[in-house]
């Protein structure tokens, strides 16, 4: 009998949406070559994008710290300290970066280590954090509305996002790649032409999938993509290698293939209303880079040997 008509219905809808986005994406790509095409941007992409591309370098967009991290009176950091805890929006399903460890009931990972370092700099106690697990889609709204103080969520600094929120300096360099089952013959996104490839709704990985003429299947979480891959409902998952590594670690019957398709510099997201907090966080990150904590976290979560941390570049 027909297994799961509901799910096929949902898929069909997604595929439909995706093919609609494909057309839009194609138009956007043609209008603004060289810039990442955003299918969601219906407003005259060519003009706005070109202007943004001229003045925007995602890797060197953040604010320069003024010395070591200091909680100055009247600053946002002082407000957080008065509240008694930092509120951080994090991922709970991305293995090794931000995930709820079912055994301890704690959220752990590389992203989480960054947040704990910030809390430590404010309170002298890395434990004074309230973690709010959020989906990819929720990241920008939560930062903009102030529901969270900071977001550490495998989040790529992009020029589009920089128009709405601020980012810290780059704390991790990722690149989009492709995860397939061990027995797959696919070697890159191009060889998945016309097949179903999974990504989350709020990620920027979907655009690249559409550019390579694969069929995009959207789900809320990266682990949902792995469920679909295991059940044979999609041919591949494509996103940042950092996330894919975490998925591969949960299923030894998968492998990463293909070249690095994009540069995905990760930053911690902060509201544009708190530039002093951006500088503060950058100071904290600078400490982590130099005192070996960054390397220690890298070795714990991603693997040894740790590379050199991404060098901080600032735009202002």
């Amino acid at each position: 009998m027909n297994a799961r008509p509901w799910r096929q219905g949902r898929r069909a809808l997604l595929v439909l949406l995706a093919s609609g986005a494909l057309v839009l994406g194609g138009v956007a790509a043609a209008a603004a070559p060289g810039t990442p095409a955003r299918p969601s941007a219906a407003r005259a992409p060519g003009v706005v994008r070109a202007a943004a591309a001229d003045s925007c370098d995602p890797k060197a967009s953040s604010l320069r710290p003024s010395g070591p991290p200091q909680v100055t009176p009247g600053s946002f950091m002082a407000k957080i300290r008065a509240r008694g805890y930092l509120i951080a929006g994090v991922d709970q399903s991305t293995y090794h970066f931000g995930f709820l460890n079912p055994l301890s009931g704690q959220i752990e990972g590389f992203d989480i280590d960054m947040i704990r370092a910030v809390a430590n700099a404010i309170f002298g106690d890395p434990g004074k954090v309230h973690f709010k697990a959020i989906s990819d889609e929720q990241r920008i709204p939560d930062v903009m509305h102030g529901t969270v103080d900071i977001v550490a969520h495998t989040m790529t600094i992009t020029c589009d996002r920089l128009q709405k929120i601020d980012f810290s300096s780059v704390y991790f360099d990722a690149a989009q790649r492709v995860l397939v089952l061990n027995d797959s013959t696919a070697t890159s996104l191009d060889s998945l032409h016309g097949q179903k490839v999974c990504a989350t709704s709020g990620s920027d990985s979907g655009d690249r999938i559409l550019q390579h003429k694969a069929v995009l299947v959207k789900v809320p979480y990266w682990t949902d993509c792995l469920v679909l891959l295991q059940q044979g409902d999609v041919a591949a998952i494509s996103t940042d290698d950092s996330i894919l590594d975490g998925l591969a670690a949960q299923d030894p019957w998968t492998k990463l293939v293909g070249p690095r398709l994009t540069d995905e510099p990760y930053g911690l997201a902060i509201s544009k209303q708190h530039p002093e907090f951006v500088r503060f966080v950058n100071a904290v990150l600078q400490q982590l880079r130099t005192d070996g904590q960054w390397a220690a976290s890298y070795r714990q979560w991603i693997g040894a040997p740790a590379p050199k941390p991404p060098a901080a570049q600032y735009g202002g």
């Binding site: 709970q92 399903s93 989906s135 929720q138 469920v227 949960q250």
Partner: protein, 458 residues
Amino acid sequence: MTTSVSVPPGPETSAPAEHSARWRSRLDGAATPTRLRLLLALLVLLSLGWGVLAALTADQHASAAADVVAVSEPLSLDAEQIFTKLSDADATAASAFLAGGLEPAQARQRYQADITEAAIRIQAASALVGSSAARTQLPGHLARQASGTSTAVGDDLATLSGQLPVYTGEVGTARADNRLGLPLGAAYLREASTLLRETLLPAARDINTRESALLTSASAQATGLPLLVVTVVVGLGIGYVFFRSGRWLARQTHRVVNYGLLAAALVGLVSLVWLAGAFAVGRGDLLHAQQQGSGPAQAFARAEVAALQAHADESLTLIDNSGDDAYQQDYVAQQKRLGPGPGTLLAQVQAPAGKPGSDAVAEARAWYQAHAALRAKDNAGSHADAVQSALTGDAATRFASLSATLSDGVDAHQAVFASSARNGRDAFTGLAVGMIVASLVMVVGCAWGLSRRLAEYR
């Protein structure tokens, strides 16, 4: 007088007034033995006609009542149990995941018991629908409704038995991944929960709705008045014919009483009283079964299911904890359905049930408060406190007492229904056969009484 009574057999009643007068004059003019033979033939026909009509009436009510007890009730109970057990499995699996570390043995056992019970019920319902021998003898329109229901219910049961292993497989994968400490487990749990809510529960709900409708129809058939009223009026008409015949015979033969005829009339009267009495008792029991049994039981069951789904939502919100508040929205929707308030499920529970109903309302309010406190904690970032409340704290205990009250309500009213409906069915036991026997006794009585008079003319 006699013409106003609609008795098909017998020339005396079917003919218009002048016609019957002609008949009577012809009877009067005929020789007495001929008239006696004609009277005998009439009375025998009336007795047999009564037997057929009364037995048919008895059988219509008895078979509908039997369907209520043998098929509709067990099936709607099965459907209700499948629905409740699956909802409970969903809620239990979700809260077991919340526990962190190893799932509590208790939660695992409860989940297993739910799945086992649901599987048993699915099998039992399938067997019942597959055989449904009891339904072939239902009266016409009811039989058509029953066969339509059986087809749809058969499809639903196929969905349930096909998808239940898929669901348990996904929960099993979730559990295995969880044990390895992988976040993938939570994704499989979400997948399983979606399958349960979007495929399994709707199928169970569909069975419940259809069988409840059939139960109502069968009950209405068993308790319906029109056929019985017609039968009783006909019976009284036949009684009147016997009375007039006795009078006429007394005049003709100059004997006060014809014992054969008297015996036949008395047997006829007894059968009429039996039929009416059995119907009154059976109808009373079946209505009681409906009003105090299946009706409130359904209301309690619906409330219980809404509460269970809201409880699963509470856990899934904490597991998912993603800012995407779909599960919390569903909780709010379920809370709205549950009530209390006009038109809500708890209002229906409250109406007939008295104390358990008002207990449930108070417990639901307490649970909503605990839930609001839990959400406030979670939203303020105290996830661990919120989980604590959902697992063993305030929210957990409040929900447990609400769930227990509703579940007890279902059981208590189900028991009322079962015993009353069985009593109702038993009231019709042997009724149809009794009517046929009575009519044969009446025939014998008439024959015996009149043949003795006829013998006098030899």
